[in-house]
Symmetry: C2
Subunit: 579 residues, 2 copies
């Protein structure tokens, strides 16, 4: 959804005006686009362009080492010939102009008309089309230009910055385009400024294979799988269309082929998703004997707020590799390998804490351990069953991560205790479980539950001759004390404390009265559940919910709720043999 504008029909002009104001120290607005400031030595002008809606393409790529100027049309619309002419005329430094853009009929026409006019005025002007989208046509010349714009423009910008002449910059551009292949998928459409609906939609659970960057739907729909499956689809798609030149095979002496790689996000597909995808693409390329060089993962050629991604490879020879690796400094893309060349890695050896050896438990400790394991399993199960509901409650006035965090913690705790093995005592198991919970769940609830379990374990110890109901009360008290010390919350603050304290008090009361632990626990769990429900009327005083106090009223606290669920589920376990 494109949300920010004044008059939708002025979107392209308004955004360009803001951009030119922002970067007025390095570029200047001209009718139709922007032109980079220049240095002492005149250079061949590399003028890129197309419609707007693709940022950082195209204005974001103007600067030293990259484009000399960018023509910026309306959204998804070719600029006019007059706009192209105006930008190229301003960008020309007396050494000629290369006009370069993706292969679309409107652009071909308008840049072509402008090239004629520039030539008539004595400005030597060349045209280099980008045709990287392998999904758009079986014929190489008829293919559209998508994220391959980036590698082709970069090669030419670097050649121009190195002082190459017009023939050479044009030659480099054609070589770069001939070596570049892209393949992409769409997850969701984009919405024009002021429009109520996206230009296309992708059915839920599907993706459009063979994306366009102007709001065109994919060429066909297919089920959306995991990132690993998508990585394979993209790598297979690009490699199936390897350039039919010497670049297609591995290097000499069987060395891997080298390739510039771009994993491009279309707008809504975020960086962290793209990094995750790269984690699956990298091994596939290496398996295919392709060595990725200076990989770029990010938003380079976007399509407003579209969801989707594409993979681009530019097969490298020595010349293209040096151009691809050369420095550049534009609003959106800055590179200088020299800055990091002299650095050395931090010493990270020995950061994993060495595992301690577990002490041998007493006979009573060994007998209690299975109950601890059963308890951890119960916690994990009850949280998994309620994860979504806990997330929903938390999202009313919080960040919605409570269910997920508790689940990660509980599962990590169970796994750590299981890994510790069946010969360990209850304290050891609870300590390992607590540390794992805190480490894996993260967040406030994670650290509290982790510290609580660790404290309960420390209270129990592994060496008693017998374990009594009073020991259970003491362990619960240790759990509660750890949480109260760390969280500094009080009754009425709308936190876990509101359920925890009534539980601990009721349990102690019941055991004091001589009730079997199992009965006292059930009564205490009932009290905790009721207390958790009663937090709905409260206004939060602590934690992330505090700034949203008003919205929270009417919904119980997620931490108190999950505590109530857990102690209630634990009441279903068999009573300890020791009571």
């Amino acid at each position: 959804m494109t949300t920010l504008f004044n008059d939708p029909s002025e979107f392209a002009d308004d955004q360009l005006a803001g951009f030119a104001d922002l970067y007025s120290d390095r570029l200047v607005a001209v009718p139709g686009g922007v032109v980079a400031h220049r240095g002492e030595q005149p250079l061949v002008a590399v003028v890129v362009g197309g419609g707007s809606g693709h940022y950082p393409a195209f204005a974001g790529l103007v600067g030293p080492g990259f484009a000399s100027g960018a023509v910026v049309g309306n959204i998804f619309t070719s600029p006019s010939a007059a706009q192209v002419y105006s930008v190229a005329k301003a960008a020309d430094q007396g050494r000629g102009v290369v006009l370069t853009f993706g292969n679309y009929a409107g652009d071909v026409m308008n840049f072509g008309i402008a090239a004629e006019r520039l030539r008539r005025e004595g400005i030597d002007t060349r045209v280099v089309l980008v045709t990287d989208d392998v999904a758009s046509s079986p014929s190489e010349e008829q293919r559209r230009g998508i994220a391959g714009d980036f590698t082709v423009f970069k090669a030419m910008g670097a050649a121009a910055a190195a002082g190459h002449d017009l023939d050479d910059v044009e030659r480099v551009g054609r070589a770069a385009n001939a070596a570049t292949r892209s393949f992409g998928v769409a997850f969701s459409g984009c919405t024009m400024p002021g429009a109520a609906a996206p230009l296309f939609t992708v059915p839920a659970g599907n993706m459009g294979v063979g994306l366009g960057i102007h709001g065109e739907p994919g060429i066909h729909d297919a089920p959306l799988g995991t990132a690993r499956e998508l990585a394979k689809l993209l790598v297979d798609g690009v490699l199936a269309a390897r350039p039919s030149t010497r670049l297609q095979t591995a290097g000499e002496h069987g060395a891997p082929a080298r390739a510039a790689v771009v994993v491009n996000g279309l707008g809504t597909t975020k960086y962290e998703e793209l990094f995750l995808l790269w984690g699956s693409i990298a091994p596939l390329l290496r398996e295919a004997a392709i060595e990725p060089v200076d990989v770029e993962v990010g938003e380079l050629v976007t399509s407003l707020d579209m969801g989707g991604t594409s993979l681009t490879l530019m097969w490298l020879d020595d010349e293209l590799e040096s151009l691809w690796s050369a420095p550049a400094y534009t609003p959106a893309y800055r590179k200088d390998g020299g800055v990091i060349a002299g650095l050395r890695p931090a010493d990270v050896a020995g950061l994993d804490a060495a595992a301690d050896d577990a002490p041998s438990p007493s006979a009573a400790g060994a007998a209690l351990a299975p109950l601890v394991m059963a308890g951890l399993r119960t916690i994990s199960e009850v949280i998994a069953a309620n994860e979504i509901e806990l997330g929903r409650i938390d999202a009313v006035a919080g960040d919605g991560d409570h269910g997920r965090g508790m689940r990660r913690g509980a599962e990590a705790a169970l796994a750590a205790a299981t890994a510790a093995g069946s010969l360990c005592g209850p304290a050891w198991l609870l300590t390992r479980a607590g540390r794992a919970w805190a480490a894996q769940a993260g967040g406030t609830s994670g650290v509290l539950w982790g510290a609580g379990l660790e404290a309960a374990g420390a209270s129990l110890t592994d060496e008693r001759e017998q374990y009594t109901a009073a020991d259970a009360v003491a362990a619960v008290d240790a759990f509660a004390s750890a949480l109260l010390d760390l969280g500094r919350a009080e009754i009425g603050d709308k936190t876990i404390v509101d359920a925890l304290v009534p539980f601990a008090e009721a349990l102690a009361r019941g055991v004091d009265r001589g009730e079997p632990l199992h009965d006292a626990w059930r009564t205490a769990a009932f009290a905790a559940t009721k207390a958790a429900e009663a937090t709905a009327v409260l206004s939060p005083k602590r934690g992330r919910a505090r700034p949203l106090a008003e919205k929270s009223i009417g919904t119980p606290d997620a931490g108190a709720t999950s505590f109530g669920l857990i102690v209630d589920a634990l009441a279903g376990l068999a009573a300890p043999q020791t009571t």
Copy 2:
């Protein structure tokens, strides 16, 4: 919508693994996060962190001139104390550690526990909280940290890179935080990996004022207005909370106060929208006597795929300004003012074509001019009335911009002709109209309609003694020839040509038969409309729709359809007086 993942519960780990692989030449993964490679001279370690889902915060900010390490928790969840400890331990270079992060209970707790442990091991460790979100609390100390993380971390990173000692880096951090204020709004919620629904929603036409960056909804909802209105809301919100120090007033001698400025996008709100917003924020800051310094507009502290934006100001003194302007080189943020310092602007004078003087028309030309004006007005009206439907047709297999492009073109043509004035002849009016159409509409249809009108005008001339029906036929033929020459499409290619050629042929036939122009036009317009409808069965051979040929079948061509609408509407005009 977060779309790319393997196992949703492993999202944070998986994305960090991909990130570490990608940037293995400059940083190294450690348990809990990443640590930058280091130079020859040991520096104070600035360790930033928090949950994941905020990229480039926090791992993207690790590198020379910025953070030494980043702790990366699960999505929207504090890292555990063990993770913080691990990263800080690896980042320490023997000169001490500053742990810095936004003010959230879980982070305060976990970073605090880690700081204690580091101190016990003899590593001098300081903690600097970021509390920039003015919407989250009236109390400065209780405020949350949002995009102000960026300015505070940057100041400390630059101080550490300059070799400052631990006391000094900590002091700079506290000063930076005391000088930083942010205020933001949310347009839409974000969706956790694997979740079916966003963590919150914003009612249509509204925005959440006082955003959170962990999927919390806004503090209250308010109607969403124009970018200009939003700019005012944000500037007013930040300025109302100016720091109560010497920094709050203008500089000495009445000079403007200087401030670092960040316009942050939350994820789905795109760069072009943010540039547009900056275009409205900049004048408001200057009116308030604030000189923006090295403004950053972009995605710096995100919240998955959330829509929204925030404005951050850090009021500068000389020390903070030099730290803010210092070079940095991280995965997501690279700055080196030296690269652009020596450049000079291109010469852009005289790029606007000077206006020619219109020749005086003949009496017949002057008499025909009002009909040309009426025709341009009719075109503009019929396109405006059909803009959305034309866009819908075009979106089936194209980029959906046909209606918008035609409307911009037709309006620009009418405006240019109106501006030319009532004393001009028909050829002059059509020429100006055509040039304006091509310049403003852009795209294939824009250049074709522009060239066609210009050719029609050239055919008519302004100096005839009379204008006959045969002159109208000749003008239409000139229009058609211009389009056929430029577009190189043929009948059956599913373009405007499929309606244009039948129209021109029918018009010529009727006039040849001696029919009044008005009648012949009406018959020809009917033929054009039918021919446009008949393009539905065709498969496109040209233009952007070509790769989507299959989807296009069943829908008529948008360009043929708009041509039919226009000639049909023109048939409703009064018959020319000359026939």
